[in-house]
């Protein structure tokens, strides 16, 4: 596990964004330079003053764009928003959501803290060519704030891109003109669809009418020329319907950029419902195979996320890339012998070890 949030101590009274630097040459105004460090932590100073952090070594945080959030009496927390050299950076823009997916990995809260300005500042400091993830809760509950931030960041930085997770419940026809702004070519919307049958999808997201509303949004997004990554989490309740979902996608949703079929993550709501929800694709791969073949037949790119390669039959293995973020990935002991380890996603940190180890067969 790579810790993303560290306890800190800071002189600032309001939250601020800065980039951590361990060397002094040509610092920018937004940089905070290393003051001292030892094996327990380090301290930095920038225009917002001095702050000290416990935990990760300073060198590992070199170049990170962080948000320091004072919480009173000098105490603070430091969030590593955009880690230098990592391909997996996500900004959590809200914890509110209007759906309640049965396997939600980020269970929603009723409160919202607006941090869009701080996130915007952070994005402008991102390393060249970064792909920045946006997540929640449901980011489009603050659609205007979100789109404004995206427009300003991508307008100022032609090298950056965003990937935004959204339940697709809030796109309107009026949004088309805005979404056709060329900056949105560098935005990909990750939108879940769990089944072709409205009742199944609605049940999984715990919202009546979600499927129908999502179809309206798809029409809007199609007319906007939006880029969409369709996402489907594999659950015991939708596995057998996966082929019919594939058919649906190849008919009505041809405009998506790709379809990601994802294995369940043992976190959030899924943790307590693990035995009901988790389905082992290793023992019943044929609906997945049928869905992948249907997608490939009709020219829809599809891939498997969070499927360890040894658990996928050989002809489909190329479609199972290393998808788990570095900060929450682990491998099992036998994996060190596997020749495909580098291309394999491994497991989530919180995947039950006993299940993981049973599932593994080094290649």
């Amino acid at each position: 596990m790579i810790p993303l949030n560290l306890p800190a101590f800071a002189e600032a009274e309001r939250p601020f964004v800065t980039r951590l630097r361990t060397q002094n040459h040509s610092p920018k105004p937004s940089d905070s330079l290393l003051v001292d460090a030892d094996e327990t932590g380090s301290s930095f100073a920038g225009k917002n003053g001095l702050f000290a952090v416990d935990g990760t070594s300073a060198l590992q945080m070199e170049g990170d764009v962080v948000l320091v959030q004072p919480i009173g009496g000098g105490a603070a927390r430091m969030e590593r928003l955009l880690r230098a050299g990592s391909h997996h950076n996500t900004l959590l823009v809200t914890e509110r959501c209007d759906q309640l997916c049965v396997m939600c990995s980020q269970p929603p809260k009723k409160t919202h803290v607006d941090r869009f300005d701080l996130f915007e500042e952070a994005c402008l400091l991102a390393e060249p060519g970064t792909l920045i993830g946006i997540s929640g809760g449901e980011p489009t509950l603050y659609k205007d704030r979100l789109c404004s931030m995206i427009e300003r960041v991508l307008g100022a930085r032609e090298d950056l891109e965003f990937h935004v997770l959204s339940n697709g419940q809030h796109f309107e026809r009026d949004d088309i003109e805005r979404l056709r702004n060329p900056v949105f070519r560098r935005v990909c919307w990750g939108i879940p669809l769990y089944g072709a049958e409205p009742a199944l999808h609605d049940r999984i997201v715990a919202k009546d009418g979600a499927f129908a509303r999502l179809e309206e949004s798809f029409a809007t997004l199609l007319l906007s020329g939006a880029r969409i990554e369709l996402r489907t989490v594999l659950l015991s309740i939708n596995l057998s319907a996966l082929p019919s979902l594939a058919r649906h996608v190849t008919r009505r949703l041809r405009f998506i950029e790709c379809w990601s079929i994802m294995q369940l993550e043992n976190t959030g709501f899924a943790r307590n419902r693990w035995s009901q929800l988790y389905v082992d694709h290793g023992t019943n791969f044929s609906p997945v195979a049928a869905a992948l073949d249907c997608a490939a037949l009709h020219g829809i790119p599809a891939r498997l996320f969070n499927f360890p390669r040894c658990s996928v039959p050989e002809p489909y293995r190329a479609q199972a890339p290393a998808s788990i973020s570095d900060w929450k990935r682990k491998y099992m002991p036998p994996c060190s012998a596997c020749r495909e380890r580098e291309q394999c996603c491994g497991f989530f940190e919180w995947h039950p070890d006993d299940e993981a180890i049973r599932a593994v067969t080094p290649l």
């Binding site: 949030n5 306890p7 800190a8 101590f9 002189e11 600032a12 330079l33 003051v35 001292d36 460090a37 030892d38 327990t40 932590g41 380090s42 301290s43 100073a45 920038g46 225009k47 003053g49 001095l50 000290a52 416990d54 935990g55 919480i71 603070a76 927390r77 391909h87 997996h88 950076n89 996500t90 990995s105 980020q106 269970p107 060519g129 993830g133 997540s135 929640g136 990937h163 997770l165 056709r180 060329p182 990909c188 007319l223 020329g225 880029r227 976190t267 959030g268 490939a296 020219g299 790119p301 891939r303 996320f305 489909y316 190329a318 890339p321 290393a322 973020s325 900060w327 929450k328 919180w350």
Partner: protein, 206 residues
Amino acid sequence: MRSSRFLISTMLAAGFGPLDPAQESLAYVTTTGTDDPNSGTLMRLFTQDHEITLAQHRSHRSHSSHSSHRSGGGGHSSHMSHTSHRSSTGGSPLYTPPDYSAPSTPSPPPPPPPPQSWPVSPPSQRATPPPDDGLPALSGRSQRFRAIVRRVQLALLAQGYYEGGIDGVVGPAMRAGLRRFQGSRGLSITGTITPQTLDALMISSE
């Protein structure tokens, strides 16, 4: 080439006559590439000219490195030109666009980070032994912080910019002292402990 040398001397003779206006505009809309997504042409309406195939080749994205041939992973070599020698009725060039497919799409972010309950007071990462004076234990970060602040306070005191206690706490009096010092040295007046201030006070790292 002069037209009199040809069997078919004009295009008109070959049947390239007048056209339905819809047909005229079809050629135009499908071949003129503009950067303006609102130019109204049919497919541009849907795609915003996404150079999808090009976006895949950014090497910094971990997923693009897994792109091989077209989806299906059949390993089918698709680069071959079938014109080979001479073109013929069928042997025309076969061009395979780079991967518009499966693994070549931009790397999506992971599902959001696991829920963290934000601590009201930051937990210590290491147990610190209680100080001998019976005062409450301080965490590593706060100790480090206070140590540096004390050194700044001492330095300001030595140069006459500060008269308060050497307590490791940045209070209003210290901020005022910092501002006076920064002003006198031509530094940016922030009232905070900036790296330039530390340098000017000659406080180096331990």
